[in-house]
């Protein structure tokens, strides 16, 4: 191995060791663990694929999957579209100071701990003392049980997710928008293209890699959502907001069924991998400036 190659390997080694220790080893352990069940006394017993059959035929598990997907559908498109709209708006601001100030404001929620943010939102959503119901009362809207209603709990949590993730996605879009050469728009304007046509024919195609990446990141984030749900509803009311990761957590640490929880972890991993690959294949376009 030549010196350059060795140096290259040494540079990536810390990342490889970290990734291996933090992600790969637990992943392999989860896969192995999914074939063992813990019996009273703490011993493990090999049970083949029995736990897969058990978990994948459990209605509670599929209810949690359904809740997760429903949260995902409510959060991901809204986050991506709103972030793109905000980025386009910020990009049009001529004053750099104003743009930075607005961008910082949008980014702030992303820097807040999700648990802390969830607790604040819990107060905002409080049916009796919450500022949201207080504001709505001024408009004549009767108080709503945001987190205590079977119908409203998931949209309410989705709104928190959108709020938390908007800044991050906006930053990515804004950076990408700034990288698009201004000449393209000038040429389009000379050719008589409208603002809408410029957006459709220039901006969106050139933002394709970022849109795909943000969509994948949001999908992963929302599929793995735990903190906000755990801190606000703990999966309630009546399991209406129990996500797969919440169920996985309870299964592992409340019911001490590490094998069942490992099956869920493998399910999440495989699902995310498949969806990500599919999304990548379907929507990714080559972009050349």
């Amino acid at each position: 191995m030549d010196r350059q190659r060795r140096a290259g390997l040494l540079f990536v080694l810390p990342a490889v060791v970290y990734f291996g220790g933090v992600f790969l080893v637990p992943l392999v352990e989860s896969v192995i663990g999914s074939f063992y069940r813990t019996v009273p006394g703490g011993l493990s017993q090999f049970v083949g694929t029995r736990l897969y059959v058990k978990v994948l035929t459990d209605p509670t598990f599929w209810q949690a999957v359904g809740n997760t997907l429903s949260l995902l559908v409510m959060s991901v498109p809204v986050t991506v579209v709103v972030a793109l709209a905000v980025a386009l708006g910020l990009h049009r601001l001529r004053s750099l100071e104003a743009r930075s100030a607005w961008a910082a404001m949008y980014f702030l929620p992303f820097s807040v701990s999700l648990v802390a943010a969830a607790l604040v939102w819990q107060w905002i959503y409080d049916p009796v003392y919450g500022v949201l119901n207080h504001a709505l009362a001024g408009l004549g809207v009767p108080p709503l049980k945001w987190l205590q209603s079977l119908d409203l709990v998931r949209p309410s949590l989705a709104a928190v997710n959108v709020w938390a993730r908007l800044g991050f996605d906006t930053m990515i879009f804004l950076a990408a928008l700034q990288a698009i050469p201004a000449e393209y728009y000038e040429a389009a304007a000379i050719d008589g293209a409208s603002a809408w046509q410029a957006l459709r024919r220039i901006t969106l195609p050139l933002l394709n890699p970022q849109i795909v990446m943000v969509a994948i990141l949001e999908l992963i984030f929302n599929f793995k959502i735990f903190d906000t749900v755990y801190a606000t509803t703990q999966g309630g009311p009546a399991g209406a907001s129990q996500t797969v990761i919440m169920l996985l957590y309870d299964t592992a640490f409340k019911y001490f069924r590490l094998g069942d929880a490992s099956v869920m972890a493998v399910f999440v991993f495989v699902s995310l991998l498949l969806v990500t690959l599919l999304q990548w294949r379907l929507f990714r376009r080559q972009v050349e400036y």
Binding site: V128, G235, G236, P237, A238, G239
Partner: protein
Amino acid sequence: MRGVRTVAVTAVVAMALAAPSSWAQPKKLVFWTHWEQNPEFNKFYETRGKDFGQKTGYEVQVVTVPYQGYEAKYLAALMGKSGAPDIFMGMTHHWCGQYDFCDKMPADLARTWDENLPKYMLNVGKWKGTRYGIPIEHGNFQQMYIDTELFKKAGLDPDKPPKTLDDWLAAMKKLTVLDAKGEPTQVGFALRHKGHPVGITDKFLPFAHAFGARMLSPNLEKATGFANSAEMVAALQFYSDLVNKHKVASTAFPTPEDAFGQKRAATIFRESWFFGWVKKNAPDVAFKVYALPCGKTCPGAGNLFPWTNMVAKSSPHKQAAWDFMKFISNAKDDLDQHQAQGILPVWTANLDSAYVKSRPDYQSTQEMLRQPVPPEYYHPKSNELATAFGEAVVAALYGKGQPKPLLDEAAAKMDRILRD
């Protein structure tokens, strides 16, 4: 200059080597608890740990783990061993039953506890007949706390509490105040409706027991026929009607404790620790404590969370840990520790102490203890079983279904859990 430095370094090294052993760091027994609501109780371990340290060189360090998620932290530490506590608080049937993390209690200490516990607590801390844990909470059963001012305002006599569920419901209706839209602004009963289903089950069980129902068969092997019995269906119908029909409880209210502390709920069913909690967090609430109202039967003194202190099997200081437990296993320490926090002591000798007699729950505790002992559910899978059951309870509270089909589904699920 260099010579001076050399002399100084030599002197420091010599002093360090010659230092008496008392200069050395004391050895530590690490104690984990998740009773975050009882800081004075927890501090007692450290205070007495200092006395213990003078005799043995071991001091006690208390680590309070937040209740929410404590199982995950305990499990990770006890499995990992290296970061595990020496002593920890939890439920014996989980940590010593489902898992094998506990050291068996030395025979002499086990005998001491067996001889000094109230009879109804003898099984608490045991797994398959062997004692591992020391019960720490007498009065860990719900009693009825009433806000005397709200009772008076509603024209009710706080000295004559409702004794039956029918009377209780009638009182709750009088205590509930509705706004113009028919929504309660003050409720009769502070009902637990959110949080983990295990807690929801725990709060519902006294009602179930008062209706003569039980969650599992006596041998804890079957749920169908018990969790979905006619009595249980009637109990859940009664319970969900409190919210959906009579509106004497509300799912829009915060935690039951807060609602009671904010004078927005006139009654709450909670354990003996709640006495100390109200005094500290809602000192302006005037309250009295009574035995729970009875239905077909009386709910009796039972609980879903029999908390105990255990010694970790993997602890390198097992002997010292047990010695410390022996050191504080006496009537005086029991009284001092519980009194500091306003909790009922555990030792039989203390049940008629001046402190206990002066408590507002003395009479009610006696009354509850006279009632038949309700069913116990000390099963290694009690969390999972209680979750399956609690999901049905909370679904009924939120109008997601009728009690009978919800309980049928829950019972079937519980049977699957039991069989697995």
